[in-house]
């Protein structure tokens, strides 16, 4: 498999998706760090996993359900307690677009 590398443009794109504002210095640093992490992945790629089933979860568990019963949630005052701003019983958020 070809070596995957991360460019500064990739970091800027991911930062935008994650709503992170990075300085130029941070962009350089994270590009380097993310490439180090990918380099470690390359090491793992060297392992032979031909006979190993892919897993969807780290725990050997399946089918954990709850029954369909409603129960009271939070009182509204508590639900809104940590909201920076609220109005008319709703969370108030700044301009969206």
């Amino acid at each position: 498999m070809a070596l995957v590398t991360i460019s500064k443009a990739d970091v800027e794109h991911v930062a935008l998706l994650a709503r992170l504002e990075l300085t130029e210095e941070e962009k350089e640093r994270y590009t380097q760090q993310l490439n180090n992490i990918l380099g470690y992945m390359e090491k793992m790629n060297a392992l032979d996993t031909a006979g190993v089933e892919p897993t969807a979860h780290v725990l050997p568990m399946q089918n954990v359900f709850r029954e369909d019963a409603a129960r009271p949630g939070l009182p509204r005052e508590l639900a809104l307690h940590n909201a920076p701003q609220a109005q008319d019983g709703m969370y108030k958020v700044p301009r969206i677009v």
Partner: protein, 481 residues
């Protein structure tokens, strides 16, 4: 150049469970804002979702009703994006291993049956509701968020791009709605948002097997809106291509008031969801016995029911199709026929008077004051000759608006038909004596004169004379038998 449209629909339907998909908050519609919320659906730190078993059951049920294969192994994934209606900044959805896939739904348009492929059915959670302070999102200095709907279970049902006309798209959505209602997994109230539909549309020259560039249409809140939006968008794309332009792949919003689709800002379309397996939920291993148990619990579905009405009652396919388009209407029909076994007459009344009044009042059959027992009793009174067909229609309207039973209305309004031969004969004789000229005309061969005489008898009796008996008496006296 002749173009054809290629349409695929993505339908989201809220499931009729008691509690949300990953927490115990109620799914009830219309509560005070932010009163159906808890730390889990608000996405507070440190909480864990636990899957509602009934959501999986409903998803399997719909998968089976849409002829899908049910996955033996399925899992949830995180779809990441930032929007204020999504408190966790990701939606728990299903990406590469949906619960059901590879099905089909037969639809009928203009008497022709066509099978529409179902790509997949997957489970996910609904988002909250935004209330914008300005007249539109871009003109709002701030917005208010209600998270009551956050975490209400949704099924997303994706069709193959097999639809070719707006009529087919509408027929598909109507059929899908009927199935969701028959299986009792959703209320499907488009006006409350419990059934929502997006469309992918492109056009191509007739005969081509390549796809053109598609646009995604959102915000169609009724069957009519779906059809109008598709008609508009197909025409718009045709005009772009015919004037030498090219279609831009984008999301467009249907503006109901203006009757047009409008491009949504590209900023809202930065689709890079970075799906990854949801670490907070363990995978699903679906036992075949469970699937078979759910299959056995499936009710008679619309197509089977339609066939039964045609086969058992000899109803015309069109009538059977209309009656079975809604489970409630079909139930009303079946219950009435159980009490009054003349299915064709019941069908005529359901298709005629009942649907006319329901449509005029924009009402649903479940809100109708007329019950099967009332309609059966009305038809019995007509069969017995107590009331005429004309009276029955008047009484039916009264039943529809007041919910009174027909016997009461007959008594209150003195609507009993005169079927006493002696009493009617006296009226007939009086009418004949009073209209010698008309009698002459009839004897001279003017058949229409008879109608006038019948009318006079009805007038004398204030419409209560039994019409069949009046005809018989007149003909006897005029010697035309």
């Amino acid at each position: 150049m002749e173009y054809e449209a290629v349409i695929g629909l993505e339908v989201h339907t809220e499931l009729k469970t008691n509690s949300k998909v990953f927490c115990g908050c109620t799914t009830a519609f219309g509560g005070e804002p932010n009163t159906h919320v808890c730390p889990i659906c608000l996405g507070l730190p440190g909480v864990l979702p636990v899957l509602n078993k009934r959501v999986v059951e409903f998803a399997i049920k719909i998968g089976l009703a849409l002829n899908c294969k049910i996955a033996a192994f399925s899992k949830f994934d995180r779809k990441n994006y930032y929007y204020p209606d999504l408190p966790k900044n990701y939606q728990i959805s299903q990406y590469d291993l949906p619960i059901a896939a590879g099905g089909y739904l037969p639809i009928e348009v203009n008497g022709e049956t066509k099978s529409i492929g179902i790509t997949r059915v997957h489970m996910e959670e609904d988002a909250g509701k935004l209330l914008h302070s300005g007249e539109s999102i871009s003109r709002s200095p701030y917005s208010l968020v209600d998270y009551n709907r956050t975490g209400v279970p949704l099924l997303e049902i994706v069709s193959e791009p097999d639809l070719r006309t707006p009529e087919e798209a509408r027929a598909y959505l109507e059929k899908l709605k009927a199935i969701l209602q028959y299986t009792d997994v959703s209320d499907c109230k488009m006006e409350e948002g419990s059934l929502r539909c997006d469309a992918n549309v492109s056009i191509r020259p007739v005969g081509s097997d390549k796809f053109g560039t598609k646009t995604e249409i959102k915000n169609m809140n009724s069957f009519r809106a779906l059809q109008r939006a598709l008609e508009y968008e197909i025409q718009r794309q045709r005009e772009v291509l015919e004037s030498g332009g090219r279609i831009v792949q984008e999301t467009r919003s249907w503006d109901e008031a203006k009757g047009i689709t409008v491009s949504m800002r590209s900023k809202e379309q930065a689709h890079d969801y970075r799906y990854f397996p949801e670490p907070d939920l363990v995978p699903l291993v679906i036992e075949r016995e469970w699937v078979e148990e759910i299959r056995r619990s499936l009710p008679e579905l619309p197509d089977a029911r339609k066939e039964r009405l045609i086969r058992d009652y000899g109803l015309p396919p069109y009538d059977a199709g209309v009656i079975t388009s809604s489970r409630d209407l079909a139930d009303f029909f079946d219950r009435t026929v159980a009490l009054h076994p003349d299915a064709k007459t019941v069908s005529n009344w359901v298709m005629g008077e009942l649907l006319r009044l329901l449509n005029a009042g924009n009402l649903d059959i479940t809100r109708s004051l007329i019950k099967p027992a009332g309609l059966a009793e009305l038809l019995r009174l007509m069969d017995q000759g107590t009331i005429s067909g004309k009276m029955a229609k008047v009484i039916f309207e009264e039943m529809f608006s007041t919910g009174k039973d027909p016997g009461t209305i007959v008594r209150e309004q003195g609507l009993v038909q005169i079927s006493d031969e002696g009493e009617l004969a006296a009226v007939v004789d009086r009418v004949l004596a009073g209209n010698p000229g008309v009698v002459e005309d009839f004897r001279a061969g003017k058949e229409r004169a008879l109608g006038f005489l019948v009318g006079q008898v009805m007038k004398e009796t204030k419409g209560k004379a039994n019409p069949g008996l009046v005809n018989k008496l007149l003909k006897e006296r005029l010697g035309s038998n």
